[in-house]
């Protein structure tokens, strides 16, 4: 590599990383506890436990549950129903002032599917982990915050690529994993920066890219609404507003018949951003491990319960679905979470040593 080429890549590496470092440090620091948010919420007592009841206690039907939810929060609109992953008797309900209310103003709670008793889930509405999550997702700045972080994520990816290119000239005369201990502090940290940077490369790229995709979720959902949803609900364009919602009782049966072999993940009620003004959308997930992250919506007419369409999944919705586990690190048990945390701390060290190396070099250049 010519020295001019090295200088160019070095310039790219320095500036892409310097610009994104503060944000990446914030993301890595808030992300660290978020890896364990389940465990933390459990310890804080913010996650509800449902009552012990005989195992064969029958469950209420969906419309009965909706009625219980509405009795719990009178005057509010039902937005979503979902199923708890840990407890099959837990049904998560999300309600808000109107169906179209933005997600951060919604209220999430849990219903006991056997009794319809409402149980509050403080961790889904506020508290420490929610505060960290909002910082991590949009810094309390809504869409502009998300897009800014997405841009920082792209700079991070560029910094990783340029760093990898520079690894070659730096390591040409050194054996892999050489850390020169006795020359100077700067050299030791330069070698550590190179070593840790290059071994965590794949993980950091995957978490970085999936983070950028997740940060663009609002745009992806908006694209889905204009691309695919609007075509499916075309016949309803001039239909009068829905006045009487048909009962939700049989939604799962209808959806399972329309999409055989799939399992329900959540139901979007009419008027939410995952549905139309005239439809229930039952989001079905695949039944294998891999396809359980891919969602297929079944649109069901909320007036007469006929199936309007089984939506095709555009590639970008699949990309968004697959990004979530790969970003959160929650798909391989506790050992994976711990490794995720170790790799996160190593990334913090790469970021910190990068700033240190830049400061030392700048000081040297000045004097």
């Amino acid at each position: 590599m010519k020295s001019k080429t090295i200088r160019r890549w070095s310039f790219i590496h320095t500036w892409t990383s310097l610009i994104c470092t503060v944000f990446l440090l914030m993301l890595a620091l808030t992300g660290l506890p978020l890896i364990f948010h389940h465990e933390i919420d459990h310890l804080l007592g913010n996650e509800p436990e449902l009552k012990q009841m005989p195992a064969d206690t029958p469950q209420l039907n969906l419309e009965q549950l909706v009625a219980k939810a509405q009795a719990h929060r009178p005057g509010e609109a039902m937005q979503y129903l979902a199923w708890d992953e840990d407890d099959k008797n837990g049904v998560i309900a999300i309600m808000a002032a109107t169906a179209g209310t933005e997600p951060n103003s919604s209220h999430t709670f849990m219903l006991d599917a056997r009794t319809g008793e409402a149980v509050e889930t403080p961790s889904a509405n506020g508290g420490l982990t929610m505060f960290l999550l909002r910082l991590h997702v949009d810094m309390f700045a809504g869409l502009p915050g998300k897009l800014l972080l997405a841009f920082m994520g792209i700079l991070f990816v560029l910094a990783i690529i340029s760093g990898t290119v520079l690894y070659l000239p730096f390591m040409r005369r050194l054996k892999f994993a050489t850390v020169r201990q006795d020359k100077s502090t700067r050299l030791r940290w330069l070698d550590l920066h190179n070593l840790i940077g290059v071994v965590t490369l794949t993980w950091a790229l995957v978490v970085g890219v999936t983070g950028v995709i997740s940060a663009c979720a609002d745009l992806i959902i908006a694209a889905w609404r204009t691309d695919s949803l609007s075509a499916m609900i075309e016949p309803y364009k001039n239909a009068p507003p829905l006045t009487l919602r048909a009962p939700a009782t049989d939604l799962l049966k209808i959806a399972e018949k329309a999409a055989p072999g799939m399992e329900p993940d959540f139901i979007a009620f009419p008027g939410t951003r995952f549905s139309s003004e005239h439809h229930y959308a039952v989001f079905m997930k695949g039944s294998t491990h891999l396809t359980s992250h891919l969602l297929t919506p079944v649109l069901i007419d909320a007036g007469n319960l006929s199936v309007t369409a089984i939506a095709a999944r555009p590639w970008y919705m699949d990309a968004m679905g697959m990004s979530q586990p790969l970003h959160f690190g929650d798909y391989g048990g506790m050992p994976m979470k711990i490794l995720w945390a170790v790799l996160d701390v190593l990334t913090i060290i790469v970021l910190g040593s990068g700033v240190y190396l830049w400061l030392v070099r700048r000081k040297a250049a000045k004097s």
Binding site: V199, L201, G333, I349
Partner: protein, 60 residues
């Protein structure tokens, strides 16, 4: 051209192997539980251990 190429593999050979193992680990746990999860622990454990060892090693 020749010395340059051997340089490339000398420098990037091991990192590339680690990268591929990490990628396989990240993917493995998406496919199933149990056995697949443990594959992911190996794949991600290798970079984590090398990184931590590098930090822990001090001048003797």
């Amino acid at each position: 051209m020749k010395p340059r190429q051997s340089n490339f593999w000398k420098v990037f050979g091991i990192p590339l192997g680690i990268g591929l193992l990490s990628a396989a680990g990240l993917f493995a746990a998406l496919l199933g539980d149990g056995f697949w999860d443990s594959l992911s622990w190996i794949g991600l454990g290798i970079p984590a251990v090398i990184g931590v060892l590098g930090l822990a090693r001090r001048r003797s």
